[in-house]
Symmetry: C2
Subunit: 201 residues, 2 copies
DNA sequence: TTACTTTTGTTAACACTGTTAATTAATTTT
DNA sequence: AAAATTAATTAACAGTGTTAACAAAAGTAA
């Protein structure tokens, strides 16, 4: 009897239609404004049917998070395979990572819990500039006392700042109880690498 | 007539009492669960009074964002002043940045729009491990072909990953229409520095 | 002191959100 | 055809940010 199979197939179709409607919403207005009601409206069913296929809203977002990481993994593996030298591979992976993030902003923001709030907010915060200046002036001093005096200080500031923020936010996501000492080693590693490449003499 | 001054002073006190109540809420349950109603409840006033002092909820969060950047800037300047050599300053600033972030998680998450959603989500995503493996195996290969064969590959993976994520997310926040080429230079700069320090031979 | 004006605060509502219990409609099985 | 199971809906609960309409208090002027 194939009717059981048909039922399973229909259930699967229903599930994907929910995900499709949800994704359209995400693409249209960002994942912050995704709502169960809008999904229900799009698929022309009542609200509770969605809860027959997903435990809650979080489960739907989790689905996209998984999808995103899978796509990213595929993209990285793909460019890695185009090179043989590990250094070239690391460089290619880095560029592919970057490209994925900006070609799939919604995925990326979802995957790493990047909220839009601060994006609108942070740009109108003059206090951030005072922080930037502490970093920038120090980097300028470092460059002035180095061999390559014509290094772009603003570029280096961005690199420095990005490394710091990356280290912190990744560590906040992986909030596993790793010992503090080990965490700080990662910081030490990244930052000393940066400084060394900055003040070559 | 000092009554006008008193009024201004009272208004100022009211304002700070709102912020204090709000901050207690943030510390208690995270800034995601801050609500106007809870603030109103805490200060024992009705809801609309809050809108006499702040345009909306966003304005309250913006206040904390400013506060956070000011505190961070002060902390960085403070440790910078304890050193004279720019390299030492950059290292000290990095550690101070890190310490600030983890001693003031609520501030930091607010400042950079780090949502908790993914934090809970991302840790149960096995797909992330497949992405990690692409990076890790490549780094292992790179180490194997380098001079320092006993480098901690897991440490280097974290560094690599953090640099990439930092670059991307900072760039997403500063969404000013900088040309793509310039953006990619920052990536190139950071990543080539990392690779160079990895495959010294 | 009384009358008027301005400021301040409250009630009640609107338009949303996620989630779920109770109920009806449709389908399958007996 | 009747009973049992499954599917879908209505309606509600408990929240959220925000605001219009109104009442109370305080300051000003006659």
């Amino acid at each position: 009897m194939g009717i059981a199979e048909r039922k399973i197939r229909q259930k699967e179709e229903f599930r994907t239609s929910i995900l499709e409607a949800a994704w359209l919403q995400v693409l249209a207005d960002g994942w912050q404004s995704l709502s169960i009601r809008k999904i229900a409206d799009a698929i022309e069913y009542s609200i509770p049917v969605i809860y027959n296929h997903f435990e809650n809203k979080e489960a739907i977002l989790l689905e996209f998070t998984k999808e995103g990481f899978q796509k990213l993994a595929d993209a990285l593996q793909s460019v890695k395979d185009q090179h043989t030298d590990p250094s070239a591979q690391l460089e290619a992976i880095a560029h592919a990572y970057w490209d994925f993030a900006f070609e799939n902003k919604e995925y990326y923001q979802l995957m790493f819990g990047l909220g839009i709030p601060a994006c609108d907010r942070v740009n109108q915060v003059v206090e951030m500039k005072t922080m930037s200046m502490v970093m920038i002036t120090t980097i300028q001093d470092a460059i002035a006392g180095s061999k390559n005096r014509d290094v772009d200080y603003f570029l280096k500031y961005h690199t420095y700042f990005s490394i710091l923020h990356g280290l912190v936010s990744i560590q906040m996501i992986e909030k596993a109880g790793k010992p503090d000492a080990e965490k700080k080693m990662i910081l030490q590693d990244a930052i000393s690498g940066f400084i060394n490449s900055l003040v070559v003499r």
